[in-house]
Symmetry: C2
Subunit: 357 residues, 2 copies
DNA sequence: TTGAAAGCGCTAACAA
DNA sequence: TTGTTAGCGCTTTCAA
């Protein structure tokens, strides 16, 4: 796991603490104290050392500390897909906050591979990272993750809980958000409302489906699920088959951005008018939602808030001392907000000022 | 730069190579050889060692290698803004490729801060990373970067060159792409074509503006630049003022995604019809470009290709041995492709099948 | 207030 | 084929 020989050709050798000590005419320990701002050093001595450090261009070797059992000033971030704009925003926020606290951020985009996520978490533990922010793609091996945590790597889950493990977690109120969206459609008189999406095992989607179901059943409406629409082709097929039905849906609740986009495109290809022929609300707000014709009504969640809270929690865990070590895990719930535009058939009077991502 | 004491409470102590040696009844060096797949170990001995490793749950301590002068199996990636979908795609691709080659990826989103970029590059050098992929936001301090490279951190620039430094670089043909777009507009009979954008100092934008200028002057047309449109408000102002003009532009070439989006929205707010009242082509393709009404004509560039080539170059540099060390820097140019849809006033017959990002 | 010595876990160099 | 020794650069004793 470490490169065979990293020595280039003329690797300018960085001076060590020992050389600084020699030049300053003091012991290595004194230099160490100066570097670490230990108070018990006479100002005069300190100055000598500082001068020597300056003169030699000394730089602390991070590796040595690690060997002494310290942790790298790095945090890890594992997400299912970094090219997903939502996670990209999360990553951007986390990296910034981490940097401001002196940490570098190691990012892994797992491609929804649960095994990979576990492996990378283990790898990060071995690299002595300070902490890990984790968005899982499914259920991880509890034992392995438990061992990682016990090995001293604090973990905070966000967007999805870490099942079976009592870790801190920051989650979105997916269910309530979905309920609100479906209720909204119902309040417009829709009775045949389809729920379309894919990847229904994924926690956020599963929660949204639950919200859909509960809203429907609360009004005695029959659910109409279709959870395999993840590309344009699937969307076209779905649109075509749905229109043929006797009781074709008059509205659709899309459980995620990707599905929303493809559905929109499919409707457009088939010249189905939105919202007159079919109304649509999509979970996940997106930048262009207000620009599209018609502007699409969405359920928005703030990636920035989510990331911020998660990082805050992790930092607390990392910096925890003494009595707080065993602090019981915190769960934070963040709202999802219905952003009413036009695709749902409503007049565009936002319940909340539209604020994407 | 290393955390003060990373020791939690019941930190399960990982066994060392020495303990493995004791349990296996061999010398430490033999264990080391086994770990590193050195051939000169009798299969029987090897087996004994492997058993002991298994039994103890031994894990190699990465820090020790660093101290011996090896490099961490990590690469760095510095981009101006990770929440920019283009860079998010780049990051996603790079992280994946890196992981497949055994590297972790440290990502920094600089927020277009040149000083920060330099600092982080230096920090990465100190952390003994294996290599660095860099998208600069401006002109970095050549000396400091030079020192980083000499310190043994190979750097490959992409999307923008590293000015004043002979590093490898992978770039997009921004200028040619812009020229093609403007030529296209001209071929539709447009004469008053505005070039709108912001951040004209940024390399890619600057190149695109050059392309615009050269296409215009090639046809004896007067350029009409407006390089401060970076938000909806600015876009509205621009649209309003442009319409008042005597010779209002009949077409606009937008130099970047953000401007394109806000312009689109501003035109929509002002009920300006596209393309009949004004035609538009935007540099940077985006996922929803075909969905918007009307579908927008763009100049697309492949983030994946860009990232892939850049990583390949970096890996070559990292793995370089002996005679190739001083290999002269490579420059790779990747095409930008005009994707004709409808906002430019053309019939939607793509010169190339639309393939976003 | 300062310093010398003893490692942290590993591998390169040498011996056997 | 295997093992011993001597560090890598730093910090933690403990002593001065």
């Amino acid at each position: 796991m470490v490169q065979k020989k990293g020595i280039g050709k003329s690797q300018r050798q960085t001076p060590t603490i020992r050389e600084v000590a020699r030049v300053a005419g003091v012991g290595v320990m004194t230099v160490s104290r100066v570097i670490n701002d230990h108070p018990a050093v006479k100002p005069k001595t300190k100055k000598k050392v500082l001068t020597a450090i300056q003169q030699l261009g000394y730089e602390r070797n991070e590796a040595a500390g690690l060997l002494k059992g310290q942790r790298a000033m790095m945090i890890g971030l594992i997400v299912p897909d970094l090219s997903d704009i939502f996670f990209a925003h999360c990553a951007n926020t986390i990296e910034k906050l981490a940097r401001e606290s002196g940490y570098l951020t190691l990012i892994v985009s797992s491609g929804h591979d649960v095994e990979l996520e576990t492996q990378q978490a283990e790898l990060m533990a071995r690299r002595k990272l300070s902490g890990l922010l984790l968005v899982t793609s499914g259920t991880l091996d509890v034992n392995r993750i438990q061992r990682v945590i016990e090995g001293g790597l604090p973990i905070v889950a966000f967007d999805r809980p870490l099942e079976g493990l009592g870790t801190d977690a920051v989650l979105i109120e997916n269910r309530a958000g979905a309920e609100e969206a479906v209720e909204h459609l119902i309040s417009h008189g829709h009775k045949r409302i389809a729920c379309v999406g894919f990847d229904s095992e994924a926690y956020p989607v599963a929660e949204r489906v639950k919200g859909y179901r509960s809203a429907m059943s609360a009004h005695g409406l029959r659910p109409y699920l279709s959870m395999k629409v993840d590309c344009l082709e699937a969307a076209m097929n779905w649109v075509d088959s749905a229109r043929l039905k006797q009781d074709a849906p008059t509205a659709v609740f899309s459980t995620n951005y990707r599905t929303t986009v493809h559905l929109l495109r499919a409707f457009s290809e088939r010249k189905v008018k939105i919202p007159s022929e079919v109304a649509i609300i999509g979970f996940d707000d997106f930048e262009l939602a207000p620009v599209i014709a018609p502007p699409v009504t969405t359920v928005g969640q703030s990636a920035v808030d989510l990331a911020r809270r998660a990082f805050r929690l992790l930092l607390d865990r990392i910096e925890i001392t003494g009595s707080d070590v065993g602090r019981s895990p915190e769960k934070i719930l963040l709202p999802a907000t219905l952003i009413v535009r036009e695709s749902c058939g409503a007049h565009p009077r936002s319940k909340k000022t539209a604020e994407p991502v």
